[in-house]
Structures are given as structure tokens and as C-alpha cells.
Assembly symmetry: C2
Homo-oligomer: 344 residues x 2
DNA sequence: CTGAAAGCGCTTACAG
DNA sequence: CTGAAAGCGCTTACAG
């Protein structure tokens, strides 16, 4: 029913192989027949059958995007849409299609990834998370399947083996802490995300280092982790504000959580930034729209996705190329949630 | 290099056709050989080649998701991630894969959709937007390609022709307006989204009807449209608050915009809900996290995606089935941004 | 510069 | 119950 290469060949009075060659714009075909064939294609509204093509080329020209199984929560976080936007943008110019994972649990995801690679549904994979005990990445490494990670491997030993695009989250968190320190704060709370994710570990490390450099003791009770974005920020606030010496500043895992923190503080009638300074990460659009607008660090999420895609495409072109580690710079965005601590 | 059906056949000492039949679990194959073949598949780690399969079956078992070309802005809106989550969930249980559009302009998108359907990359399409002068939907209709729309067609004449899953946005907006009216407000501002989208038109119509029923004149200066989510809410507020008789209540297109509205009002020192009531749509997570938490209407975005997918799959199974129009219910979520107008 | 043939990895009538 | 053959719609050596 659909028009095939044979139909075009018949109309243009050439062999199917010739049609195939003009599609590929093979230079050995004369200009005259190229034109005739193109006209026929136009006239019939011909599009090459993608599956037939992929079958013989052993390549699908599509990239798989693996979203963490906790997508229920994850997708609420503006981070993912924004990386995907970066991916989409690069994929479009490179004429790659995008295939989305659908698994909802870690097991489902792993099974899905296996299917994707073994059934040759995609040519390469973009892994959008890095966490402890993850089975997907080891599988990809074992299969020697082209992929790039957004984030960094949980296991340091894998660092040399995989290509990844990441921020220097340790440095970013250290800088953020130093900034707060410079504003005179000494009691600084840390509200991290799920400790299974590498970002959280790195943030904490940066926080720790900054404190150490400043000669300020690290207090366990000031650091708190929540993986539930939804209520997380709010519960964390309750916990921290109930301390005998509550913090005067808070470093928060991401903007969405910071929103919850702001709301809880508002409910408790502690005003930001007068009585509490807040700084978070990501610079999502909501950070600009919140009241007061959030001081945050822009981690250039779009670029993370864009460059990961670029890197993956490079890798697919040249499988021999050694793993690349790309660090995307970050930038402090000062808005209105941080203030110098008044002497009391 | 990859293991094929022939390898399995050889190992199991049967013909390739037999292997194919056990994959399909054909009842005519004896239990004994089924077991032998399955063992061989297991042993070799066999996965059927997806492209070969699709080629002969003329079906890819994948669905295309078309995200509006304005994805740059759109994707910042929690609406899209959430519909996609609904789609993903249903697609997973039905064992469908998901293919994502990447076009950034309307022309790119149209070209991409054409390629998707003509090249047989997908079996059906989920259209995530409905707007004026859109060329994608007419194309799909003309090609008689299975698709379902999330939203409703801009052109009323198409209503009978296409399957869609939507909220009753007129009713929702009418209800919202009536609620505000019941709280004693008479000067009610309306901050809509882009007028090219059907949601905006429907919201406005509901607003209009509620006012008419209450015998309150419709005032042009109270209605204002912004398509830029980012600054939109804020500019709208400036515009409305500069009126000689500024509104005492605001109906806002969606939660994200409402966040901007809240922020601007905060800057102007008008307190919510004491001096201004605000109600919006969507019930995204941010509506709960904002301060004060937003009164909004839950439109069950997840269900929109889930049911659209279900509907599409039905349609693909039975192409003769008449178009289905599914309306997802909405629900007022009272939080803290609306208050009875005090007599002044 | 162009064509005939083989092959990519499956599935499915058709035989037996 | 199972196999041999044809075919899905392409591409690409191999000839000429």
C-alpha cells in the first residue's frame, strides 16, 4: 500500500538500486537520472521505509533516553524536562530520533535497557542518573554498548571507563557554603537529596570541605537527607528548626525542595532572608518566580543534555575513542534569599 | 555478530520458522520442541531483531509523542512531564515503546511527523497540543493515521472526526469564576495563556458565562493574555494593578504563572489572600509548595496522558471504531489563596 | 553510470 | 507438528 522503492524505480524507469543510490546521493549517479528519480519520488510522495533501512544498515539512528525508575517523583523535578530539552535540541540537528524508557521500577528498567540494546532498537544510550547499586550502567559497560552518563558514576573505579557529562558538584557546593560563610553565618544546615545519588554525596563533600577550611566543626545534626521532593523540604525544616541551636542558613538540594522550605518557613513565620538565608541548586524557572526569588546555582542543565548527546554521537562514530569526561561550569545566581548575618 | 534466529535454530536442531513460532508461542508447536528452543534461546541470550520484526509485521509497537514546537517554554511547564508520565505508564503495561518528537519550530515538527508516519517509525501518535492554524492534525486526518489529541481541536468542525481526551475547560473556568463570585468578588481579573490554544479560549468562555449568569458586565480591561510563562504572570499583574479599579481577585491560566503573579504581588506589597484572591489551574506540585499554597483546579494531567494512550491503542486495534471523546473530570483544590471579599 | 543479485533477520502461507 | 520458500523494503558488493 505504501509506496516503495520499486514504485519509484518503475516510474523513473530505473532499477531499485539506482533509486537507493540517489537517496544516498551517490556521486556516481548522473545528474540527469538523479533528477528524474527525485521527480518520481516527489510525485509519489515516497519516504524510505525506516525499518527496512535500519535492518540492512544495522543502525537505527535513534538514541535511547533512560529516565530513572523513580520517574514518578523525578519527572516533577524541572531537571529532567530541561536535560531532555538539551538532548532534543542536539538530536534534532544530528537527525537522530529519541526513544524514551518507560520502566517504573529498577528491574523493569534493566529489562527494558537489555531489550533496547539487544533488539537493536537504538544506537546509543543517554543515562540520566547515577546511583548506588545501579545495574544498568554495569550492563552497558559489559556489553560495550555506546552510552554516556549525565552525572558521574557512583563507583569511582568506573570513572575511567565511562563517558560522562557532569557538573563539579563538590566545587559548587563548596563555593555555595563559602558564600554563606562569608555572609557571616556559622550555623549552616544542609538539606540534601537521596544519598544514593552521586549529586548528594558530592554536595555534602563540598559542604564539608568548606566548613573544614573555615575551621568550623561539622555537625551531624545539621545535615539531613530527603528523597521525597514533595514533602521533603518541609519535613527537613521541621527537623532543623527544632534543634536547640537552629541554623541561620540553609543549603538546599534543589530549587523545588527550596520552594517547600520557603513555604514551611513562611508557615513558621520565620522570614527569608531576614531570619534565614537559603541557597539552592539548579536555577530552574521556579527559582526566579518564587517569593522571594531564590539565590541558587545555575548548573546549565540544558548544556548537560546537549553535550551528553554530542559526546554520545562522537562515541558512536568512533567506538575506539577513549571515554570523555566533560565538566559543565556552574554559576552562582544571587537573588534574594541570602543575607549577611546580623550580629546578635 | 549478534545472535539470530538461525543460531538458535541450529542449536535447537529445528528450522528457523519453528523458532519464530515458539517466539510467537504458536499452539501448533509441541511442548517438547518449545522447551528445547527456549533453552537454546536462553543459552545464546537471544533477542529478536526489532527491525526485522517490524519490517515483516508492518508495525513497530511504538507510539510517537508530539510535543508542541514551543517546547522551549512548554517543557518548563509541569504539564508536559506529567502527561508524559501518564503516557509512559500505560505504554509500559501495553508493551509499547515511546518515540519523542524533536522539532523546534512548527515547520520542523510537521516535517518530522510526516517522516514518522510515512517511514513507519510509529504505529500511532499522541498529539499533546491543540492550537490555531496547526498543520499537524489536518495532515494526520488526511492520512487517516491513528492518533489521539490531548486537548480539543481548535476547529469545531473537526470535533466529530478526531479522538481526543480533554477536560471540560469551559466548565472548570466557569466553576472557578462562580467560586470567586460566591466569595463576594465583583472585580475579577483573568490572566490567560496564549489565545491560539484551545484551553485559553475555553477558560475565557467559562469566565464569561459565569459573569453573564451573575449579571456582571464583562470588562475587556480585566482580561489579559500572556504566552510567555516566564515573565508573563508578572507583566499581567502590572497591567491589571495599574487599572483605575484594579481587580480584587485573579483567575490565572496555570500554576506556574500563578507563581509569577504571587511574586509580583509580593513585590508590590499586596498580600494574598487578604488583599487579592488567586485561583489557578493544574494542581502541579508547585501549587502545593508555593507560599501561600495555591487554590487551584486539579485537571488530572496524569489521567489525560494515560487515557489518551489507552484510547490510541484501542483505535489502532480497531481502525473502524468511531472517534472517541473522553472528558476527564476536574476538581477544585481549596488551599490558601482565596478569601471572602471584605466589605469596604 | 547503471542493473541483477544477494542478503539484512524475521514471519507466514503452503506443503507434507 | 515441522520445514522450505517467499517476501517485507531496503543497500551494496559485483559486473559490465
Amino acid at each position: 500500500m505504501a509506496v516503495t522503492i520499486k514504485d519509484v524505480a518503475k516510474l523513473a524507469k530505473v532499477a531499485p538500486s539506482t533509486v537507493s543510490r540517489v537517496i544516498a546521493n551517490n556521486p556516481r549517479i548522473s545528474q540527469r537520472t538523479k533528477e528524474r528519480v527525485r521527480e518520481a519520488m516527489e510525485q509519489l510522495g515516497y519516504y524510505p521505509n525506516y525499518n527496512a533501512r535500519s535492518l540492512v544498515n544495522q543502525s537505527t539512528k535513534t538514541l535511547g533516553i533512560i529516565i530513572p525508575s523513580s520517574a514518578r517523583i523525578a519527572f516533577q523535578n524541572p531537571f529532567f524536562p530541561e536535560v531532555i530539552r538539551g538532548i532534543t535540541t542536539k538530536a534534532y540537528v544530528e537527525k537522530y530520533g529519541l526513544y524514551l524508557s518507560t520502566g517504573q521500577t529498577e528491574e523493569e528498567l534493566l529489562a527494558e535497557v537489555k531489550e533496547m540494546v539487544q533488539s537493536r532498537r537504538v544506537d546509543g544510550i543517554l543515562l540520566l542518573y547515577a546511583k548506588q547499586d545501579d545495574k544498568v550502567m554495569p550492563y552497558l559497560i559489559e556489553e560495550n554498548f555506546p552510552f554516556v552518563l549525565v552525572g558521574r558514576p557512583y563507583d569511582d573505579q568506573l570513572k575511567e571507563l565511562v563517558s560522562f557529562v557532569n557538573n563539579d558538584n563538590v566545587k559548587a557546593a563548596k563555593m555555595v557554603t563559602e558564600y554563606i560563610l562569608l555572609l557571616g553565618h556559622r550555623k549552616i544546615g544542609f538539606i540534601g537529596g537521596n544519598l544514593e545519588y552521586t549529586v548528594t554525596i558530592d554536595h555534602k563533600e563540598g559542604y564539608r570541605r568548606a566548613l573544614a577550611n573555615a575551621g568550623i566543626p561539622f555537625r551531624e545534626e545539621y545535615v539531613v537527607y530527603y528523597d521525597e521532593v514533595e514533602e521533603g523540604g518541609q519535613e527537613a525544616v521541621i527537623e532543623l528548626m527544632s534543634l536547640e541551636e537552629p541554623p541561620t542558613a540553609l543549603i538546599v538540594a534543589d530549587d523545588l525542595m527550596a520552594l517547600g522550605v520557603l513555604r514551611m518557613l513562611d508557615e513558621m513565620d520565620v522570614s527569608v532572608p531576614e531570619e534565614m538565608s537559603i541557597i539552592s541548586f539548579n536555577n530552574a524557572m521556579i527559582s526566579e518566580l518564587s517569593s522571594p526569588p531564590l539565590t541558587t546555582v545555575d548548573i546549565h542543565i540544558f548544556d548537560l543534555g546537549f553535550q551528553a548527546t554530542e559526546c554520545l554521537i562522537e562515541k558512536m562514530k568512533d567506538p575506539e575513542r577513549p571515554p570523555a569526561q566533560i565538566i559543565i561550569p556552574h554559576k552562582l545566581i544571587k537573588r534574594q534569599t541570602c543575607r549577611r548575618l546580623l550580629k546578635s
